[in-house]
Symmetry: C2
Subunit: 377 residues, 2 copies
């Protein structure tokens, strides 16, 4: 029986037939490494870890890619704010912690959190900044097809022209008219406020290490473009599954799909989105104070219980955390461990009986009925 998945784009549960028989290709959005992992990040990783293990258990060879987005406004801002009283800024080190060092530090914190929770490493984990030439190529294809244009004010930005692509909105079933404006850049030289940045022209004061020369001037990649460039480089122009948290559907995944489809790529055949984690039924929020981090969870229960808690709900459901939830998960894990320990013991007992019978000349064979007994020759 074929595996069936709910696909966000078609809003249907569809049979999963991999593009290449015997293989499955999965891209799921990893972290923008601007801070420590949230519970939502690790739930998503656990969900797709379970999916990949399941696909493998059905006999498929899975190639999985999870990105590290190591440059964005917040990473640059957080680095720029990391001054020290006793530290004299220079051209090379305008901040105490350069953006690339900050991104690397958080990349490793995510790596540690994933491993602590039993999330296997993907086949590859590309960094966004490592794929600038691939992004140029994608922008060029979009320009040739009339779906991208340089900002009309000389800012160096390059935008995706949402009005030029009739399918824009297909992932989240929205009409362009009803969409919110793209917040990723000042509306400098945009044709439509919903046009989103493929390339962001350099602004004064940005560190030289965060600026690449492009055919459209110096700047850095747009946040959405990176995933399109990385997924198709490693998985091909068309691949099986694109995953991520529900909050990434719009604008991130809508824009990814638009970029890649408008450039002529088949892109993802299934879009899978996992539900979010709430606290006592409400959105976690630092200002409300109702947050809990993976680190705090790992201080309260064994990793296996934390993984059980985060993996227990159906992946599309909202998962609600409330105090005591990890104790319940711990108790559930203990029940499972008790069961497997008893089963192990029963197997050991069965082995001893088998050995005793064999010594007595009776051989137990595993027959079609699971237990065939016969006297040894």
């Amino acid at each position: 029986m074929a595996q069936r998945f709910y696909d966000t784009r078609t809003a249907q549960i569809r049979d999963f037939e991999p593009l290449v028989p015997g293989e499955a290709s999965v891209y799921y959005c990893g972290a923008t490494v601007q801070g420590m992992p949230h519970v939502g990040h690790v739930r998503s990783a656990i969900v797709f870890d379970i999916l990949i293990r399941w696909l493998e258990a059905t006999g498929l060879r899975v190639t999985s890619v999870r990105n590290v987005t190591d440059i964005d406004d917040k990473i640059l801002d957080r680095s720029a704010d990391s001054h020290e009283a006793d530290f004299e800024a220079s051209d090379l080190y305008p901040a105490r912690e350069p953006w690339w060092a900050l991104a690397y530090r958080f990349e490793k914190a995510f790596d540690a959190a994933y491993l602590a929770l039993g999330v296997r490493r993907p086949t590859y984990e590309p960094r966004a900044t490592g794929h600038v030439p691939e992004m140029f190529a994608l922008i060029e294809r979009l320009m040739e097809r009339g779906h991208a244009y340089p900002a009309q004010d000389g800012s160096g930005d390059v935008y995706f022209d949402v009005r030029s692509w009739e399918r824009y909105g297909e992932l989240t079933r929205q009409r362009v008219e009803d969409m919110q404006d793209a917040p990723d850049a000042d509306p400098r030289g945009k044709r439509d406020p919903r046009d989103f940045a493929l390339w962001k022209g350099a602004k004064p004061g940005e560190p030289a290490t965060a600026v690449w020369e492009s055919p459209w001037g110096a700047g850095r990649p747009g946040w959405h473009l990176e995933c399109s460039a990385m997924s198709t480089k490693y998985l091909g122009a068309e691949f099986d599954i694109h995953g991520g948290g529900l909050d990434l559907r719009f604008p991130h995944h809508e824009n990814e799909l638009a970029q890649s489809a408008a450039a002529g790529d088949g892109f993802a055949r299934f879009w899978l989105h996992n539900g979010l984690v709430t606290y006592g039924g409400e959105k976690m929020s630092k200002s409300v104070g109702n947050t809990i981090s993976p680190e705090e969870m790992l201080g309260m229960a064994r990793p296996t219980a934390v993984r059980y808690f985060l993996g227990q709900a159906h992946y599309r459901s909202q998962l609600d955390y409330r105090p005591g939830a990890l104790d319940e998960a711990e108790a559930a894990v203990e029940r499972i461990e008790g069961f497997t320990a008893r089963a192990d013991k029963d197997w050991a007992t069965a082995d001893r009986i088998r050995d005793a019978l064999a010594a007595a000349g009776v051989v137990v064979e595993d027959g079609a009925d699971g237990a065939t007994w016969r006297l040894a020759d």
Copy 2:
């Protein structure tokens, strides 16, 4: 008193004055991730870990960069050889394990070995494939200055012109005439057999993911160029210390220095090279069978004893492994641990005496002589 280091380039022990007061910038060559870590790799990492800790202990703020070279001939060859009988190769997956997946797997194996041996992570760990635009910029600067040229046979290679750079050979004090030919490419269209590749034109059959479009045709970076591009991007055109194993002096570091200096960069002010690890006085070699891996060492002794063994010799000395060496290291570590345990106990005893005296109205103060006793007021 200034720190003094032996600098390979000048062949002198020189006072170390950092370029930026209060800071130190260190680049040391990490792994070409084509296999599991050797003992030589981890000795080098321990040596530079100790150096960085020392520099920090003297009050400097250290920015350290260690590269991951994630593309080269061996990585591609090893990937291409990873066919499976039941696996049908395709354009996208010509091999069972794509080169980028293989490189990532070994990158993580190095990461684990470094961490197991107490080597702290550098400030940043760039991947070579992530710096192709920076390499283009460097090649362009070399061409403008007349030190690089495209191969004269249309192969797409770009070479460094060793005859054009009078200082070539300065690191290892060799005359060009006495040097060996550059083995990094067929001598297709070279002006001199010692010219080395900055860019390697794509060859038929190489996977599409390993090919980048460049101003000189499709191809991939030369092995030496990567370190010049990465070190100067993060540490600046001139930085304090470049480190690596003794075996990297020629051709790797000689070529790095030539590229960067010929392009106009000050590059490294000190070159530090650590000695190699031998086995019973001989070069380790798989064909002789006299090898031992970090993994095997960690199976024979505690990580702290392995680190002690690999860190005990002067960093420039050859370090010889022979059976029993790790037992001796373990015994040495136990002596140190015994000493610190006794010292801890003595401090605890001193604290108890101090408390008893205080209760009796005698206060012990730390005076200029280290122990001043007076009656409490």
